[in-house]
Every structure is written in structure tokens, then in C-alpha cells.
């Protein structure tokens, strides 16, 4: 979302400036205000999640039945739920679950997908055909449907939902890694390493894999936002994170039962999901524009 929005660069001024020692991609990223905002938000979210036990005024599952369904106040900034649990504390702890359930499927999908893409793109031929047909089948499902199918087979729950979202992520990474590897395998440096006697596993890991990291890191950053959204959706449907764990999607599913009298139950967890996904989307878009400056 940065194309065309960059602030004027230092080079456009007539005053001679010392060349920046930063790589061009970093400079492009830092010039993109939306991307920097995204990065700051991501860092802030990680800090909130890490320090949730220090920042949260109450334990996330501490019940106070005398303070049920109270609106925002000095005591409970975001109000309380039907068990008198502090919403602010649950939102803060929910950041841990959300980041965890955003990262784990992406990292798992990335590992499996990249391996498949590397093998398919490097060896081509029959193995490529078979692997890519399997990926085509996975891509033939709408993504939420595939996740629901996996949860439908394995049963609801946090671990199964994470597996489901990871499986949804695999074909995207596999295809991307494969396309980069196909372009790379004929490059001179790969041919040279092969001529020097490097074996396939070493060639793949030391020489081919690094070329895929740029595009895959962009896809992964955008993928985290998508994974968080999918996990929140599954939890909202009662198929992901189960109560009493503090999770934003589950909080929304529970909170809707207390409308219209307790809108705060809806407001804060929903805003937290939106802000987190927005942060990763801004960051991912910025990363893509910085690494691919053609536009």
C-alpha cells in the first residue's frame, strides 16, 4: 500500500548528502510511512503479548461474580464479562494466543511448503508433477473450507485448528518457492557449485534456499495476518481455541450473547483482531514494495 506514497527522497535535493550505508530495500521500507507504522504496531503487539503478565491488572481467568458485566470504569478499563473477568487482561493475554496461533501455522506451513517447492522446482520431472498436482487439489478448496474440512476430520480444538490453518498455507509457499527455484537452478552460481562437486542437499540448502527467502518472507508476513484472522474465525465458530482460554475470537463468540446491553464485550476483542491483522498487512505490503521496487 505504499506505491506512490513515498516521501521525497534525500537524493532529490540539491544539497549533497552522504550515501546511506543502509541497503536500498531497508531505505525503501523506512521511507514508506504506512509500512513503518505497521512495523511499530507489530513490535508493540509482540511487547504487549510478552509482558502481558506484567501489564495485565488482573489474572485473565480471575472471576469476580460481584462485578459481572460491568462497563468500562477506572477499575476495569475495558469492562468485565459475565463471570466478572477483566476484559483488558483477557485482551492482553489474548494477544499471546493470537500471535502464537498466527505464527505457528505460518512457520509450519512455510517449512513444509518450502521443502515441497524446493524439491519440486529443483528435481522437476515426475516428482514435480505429483507434488504440484497435490498442491492444485489443496488450492481447489476455498481456504476457510479447507480449514473447516481438516477440523471436521480431526475434531475441534486449538491444536487441530492450528494444523488446519497450516495445511491451508502450504500450497502457497510451495508454489512460490518452486517458481523461485526454477529460476535459480540454472544460474551460474548454482552450476558452479554443482561443478565443484556440491551434492544436492547441500546445493539446495546453501545455494538455492537463500534465493527464496525474500519472496517467502513477504508471503509469510502477510500470511500471519491471514492466519490470525482464520484462527479467530475458527474460534468464533467454537472450533478453535476452547474456553476458558483468553482468545479474541472466542471472546467475541461469547460476547455476542450479551448484546445489546454489554457492547464492550464485542468492541475490544474485535478491535484487537482488526488492529493486529492490519499491522501485519501494512508491514507485509511495505516489505513487498521494499523488496520489489518495480512499481
Amino acid at each position: 500500500m505504499s506505491d506512490g506514497h513515498q516521501a521525497p527522497s534525500a537524493q532529490s535535493t540539491s544539497v549533497p548528502v552522504r550515501a546511506s550505508s543502509r541497503p536500498p530495500a531497508v531505505r525503501r521500507f523506512l521511507r514508506n510511512r504506512a509500512a513503518v507504522v505497521g512495523l511499530i504496531l507489530v513490535v508493540l503487539l509482540v511487547l504487549l503479548a510478552v509482558f502481558a503478565p506484567l501489564l495485565a491488572p488482573y489474572a485473565p481467568d480471575a472471576q469476580n461474580l460481584r462485578a459481572r458485566l460491568r462497563g468500562p470504569s477506572a477499575e476495569h478499563w475495558f469492562g468485565t464479562d459475565e463471570f466478572g473477568r477483566d476484559i483488558l487482561s483477557r485482551v492482553l493475554y489474548g494477544a499471546r494466543i493470537s500471535l502464537f496461533t498466527g505464527l505457528v501455522p505460518v512457520v509450519s506451513g512455510l517449512l513444509v511448503g518450502t521443502t515441497i517447492g524446493l524439491v519440486a522446482g529443483y528435481y522437476r520431472g515426475r516428482i514435480d508433477d505429483v507434488l504440484m498436482r497435490v498442491m492444485d487439489v489443496l488450492l481447489a478448496f476455498p481456504s476457510l473450507l479447507l480449514a473447516l474440512a481438516v477440523v471436521g476430520a480431526l475434531g475441534p480444538g486449538l491444536v487441530n485448528a492450528v494444523i488446519a490453518v497450516a495445511i491451508v498455507a502450504v500450497p502457497g509457499y510451495a508454489r512460490l518457492a518452486r517458481s523461485v527455484v526454477i529460476a535459480t537452478r540454472e544460474e551460474e552460481f548454482v552450476q558452479a557449485a554443482r561443478a565443484l562437486g556440491a551434492r544436492d542437499p547441500r546445493l539446495l540448502v546453501r545455494h538455492v534456499l537463500p534465493t527464496t527467502l525474500g519472496p517467502l518472507s513477504v508471503q509469510a508476513t502477510l500470511g500471519i495476518g491471514f492466519a490470525i484472522l482464520s484462527m479467530a474465525g475458527l474460534s468464533f465458530l467454537g472450533l478453535g481455541v476452547q474456553p476458558p482460554t483468553a482468545d479474541w475470537g472466542e471472546m467475541l463468540a461469547r460476547g455476542r450473547r450479551f448484546l445489546p446491553d454489554s457492547p464492550w464485550l464485542l468492541l475490544y476483542p474485535g478491535a484487537a483482531i482488526s488492529l493486529t491483522v492490519l499491522a501485519f498487512n501494512l508491514f507485509g505490503d511495505g516489505l513487498r514494495d521494499a523488496l520489489d521496487p518495480r512499481d
Binding site: 487439489v137 478448496f141 477440523v151 471436521g152 476430520a153 475441534p156 495476518g225 474485535g270 482488526s274 492490519l278
Partner: protein, 309 residues
Amino acid sequence: MLSYIARRILGLVPVLLGVAFLVFTMLWLAPGDPVVALLGDAAQGIGSDALAELRRSYGLDRPFLVQFGSYLGDVLRGDLGESIRSSQTVLSEITSRFPATLALAGSAMLVAIVIGMVFGVLAAVYRGTIVDHVAVVIALLGVSIPVFWSGLVLMLVFSLHLDWLPASGFGSWRHLLMPAAAVGFSSAAFIARITRASLIEALRQDYVRTARSKGLSSRAVRLKHALRNALLPVVTVVGLQFGGLLGGAVLTETVFAWPGVGRMLVDAIRTRDMPLVQGTVLFIAVVFILVNLVVDLSYAALNPKVRYE
């Protein structure tokens, strides 16, 4: 064009087979005995001898591939099994829910196309101005805000506070407005992003410069020349979104208690109604694949280059 259509349809056969295989194996992915997975809660209290008998009667004791072959035969005959909960055939359950899903998907797409294209075109034409920034921010919010949250907020405001629209249910256009707006806004964001990017790219092309140099008005150049060409990728995104929605806007249908296919699938997963889960997943996937085929073919019809590649 005919050979292109034939090639595309032939190419779908292995994908459809793969989809059917994946749906079939869902029963074996489920933890425990497949016959227990198939019977759901009804399996509780059945003795092991009776389970073995049921396993035989369902044909689950036969070799895996033989079972898949017979499953495939059943599917091709339109037999998707029987729902455990309702004892109705899965196909009749799906066909009774599909009209509601179709109504939601169609109206949501209408909202999405109108909003998405208007914002996308405005953002591209006024690139770099405040109009562009606002359109880009709205599109970004559209892809970041969970549809089940925007749906609940709409319900809170327009049903529970203002009392203008019914909070849930199905039957009239008033029931349709909020779900269609919630899903439509989310899809509009994708359409706006691709319209903007595609139109910006088109406005840079030589034919646009030629049209301008011939003295055509700026408006004519943008709408007649650039937008027409920019529409090709937009068609793909619209098709993908529509295909996904036809499979049931699962989350929105749940929020608004909309009696569509998506909500039925979630209920079936919750109640472990495995035949209904399998049948619905297969149905939705096939619909998605067919809509994508239609999109591909219309793309080829609009862009001759694709046909000859």
C-alpha cells in the same frame, strides 16, 4: 476457443478426483475407528460385535482403494450419503440450503462489485491524492476487519439500537441487507485493491498515450480504453470471491443465523455428522472449482492472448 474449453475441462478431471479422494480420506483422518466417526454420537453404547457388523455393512472392511472406488461411484450417481442427525439424504439437505446461500452470495457480490470498483477507479484516477489515500485505507480495513466482527457491529447498531432491520433470519430483502453488506464490504476491499493496481498499470500503457495524443478526452481514455483492459484481472478476483461465497459465507451465515450451506457445515462439524460434513465439503469444493472454470473461460473469451498460450 473450443479446444481451449476442452483442455480446461480435461485438466479439471485429476483435480476433481484429488478433491474427492481428500474428502473420502477425511473419515480415516478422524481419530479412532472410521465406523465410529461415521456414526458420530450414535456409536456410543454400541457393542464391539455390533460395530464390527456395521463396519461390514458400510463396506469399511474392504480394501481402501475398493472403498474409494465405490464412494466415487456413489458420488457420480448423486448419492452423498445420509445425514446422521436428520436421516435426510445429504444431497437434499444441501439443495434445501443452497438457495439461501445463493441469495446471500449474489447480493453480497453486487455490493462488493459496486463499492470495490468505484473505490478502485477513484483511487487509481486520483492516485497520490487524498481520495486515493482514503480509498486505500478503507480497502485495507476491509481486508483486516474480521467479517464476523463487522457483522456483529452492524447488528448492534441497525437492529438492536436503531431497530431498523431484523437481527437474524431469512425471508425478505430486509433480512438480506446486513449480511450482504458485511460480506460485500470485505470482498469489496479485494476488488478495490486489484482494480486500483490494474487500472494504474493500464493507464501507463502505450495505447493510453496514443489515445490521449489523438485528442480524446481524459474521461473517454480512462473509461473506454484503460478501464476495459484493466477489468481482466478484476474479473478473476470477482470470480474467486463469488466462488468462495457460493460455498457459504460460513462466518456471516453463523452471525446472522442465515440458513445457508456454510452454517449447515459448521453445525455438522459441531455435531460430528460426518456424512453431512463430507458431502458438504465436496459440494462446496466442486462449486468453487466450476465457478473458477467459468471465470477462466470468460477470461479467455475477453483476452484472446490466453487462448493461444
